[in-house]
Symmetry: C2
Subunit: 200 residues, 2 copies
Amino acid sequence: MSTSHPSQTRLEGLIEALRRLPGVGIKSAQRMAFHLLQHDRDAADQLARALDGALAAVGHCARCHTFTENPLCDICADDERDAQQLCVVESPADQAALERTGSYRGLYYVLMGRISPLDGVGASDLGAGQLMDRALDGRVQEVILAVSFTAEGEATAHVLAEALKARGLRVTRLARGVPAGSELEYVDLSTIAHALVDRR
Amino acid sequence: MSTSHPSQTRLEGLIEALRRLPGVGIKSAQRMAFHLLQHDRDAADQLARALDGALAAVGHCARCHTFTENPLCDICADDERDAQQLCVVESPADQAALERTGSYRGLYYVLMGRISPLDGVGASDLGAGQLMDRALDGRVQEVILAVSFTAEGEATAHVLAEALKARGLRVTRLARGVPAGSELEYVDLSTIAHALVDRR
């Protein structure tokens, strides 16, 4: 549908624009539009300004590909990080989760997605070539694949690990095992099986 | 939180603005922001323009209180509608549902909400006074309360019906009964009980 449909009202245009957000259907979009116009015009204005500001200023880090407003993100620009370790994650949210642990001091590469044949996302769409260039900078000794343990994450890890190993890099993955604080009785069988194999 | 927090990045500002949409939590807001910036910048721009356009142009109809870009909405401005019937609905979405039936030719009053003591919404917040003024224009013969058959809708209907009847107006409600196409076996007991009482 065009945004300049001649007989479309601005309310319909707003509902249509809200529907393009991921996970928002027609009912949610209507509810959002009515709420913004009736009860929270300030939030609508804030969102319009935030969208414009982010579109104008937010780009990708030249080294790790995450979102940043500068040529390099804060982590890549930090001289005190260990440049011998490169951790590959799927999204800035996953990167933030790893940072919150406080137990990783290396650098990152953010894929901004994962291989998903059903959605038409292959290795080249993920910028696997860029990752190879990044990993072969002469300083990286180990690439840690911190992608999801889902079918799509496994496929991503497999493809990237093969390509990185073929270039002589050491490749590791996050350990699979029983989550902290969980009782064995309630852990799924696949996780227990992996934890048994990887026992230490 | 302020939108001009000094150390807040524009990405964080966008996530915070998206969180103000109804039904959107931190995870959804992150996913929306990443999706817009990574995969659909065109949708982000369309949404910013739609918000600005709606904020600038969309107001309330002077007669029925629904959203419109003109002083009067299309329905209130239509001379061929029956000015003796006034149908009270909770939202423009409910009004649209009634219009789609094609079986109502009167006018509307849109409450833009319902009485909800838990959310601090009383009769005056709903503009009950405005509804009284509208219903007492000298032409309205019957007020049809087409509010929800929920606890809050029932409270709204009760309060409005009392006030309207006290001013000498005829007040009706939508019939309760078994929905079209449903098998009795699967209809809830309250609906069947109402359908029995209102049998014809």
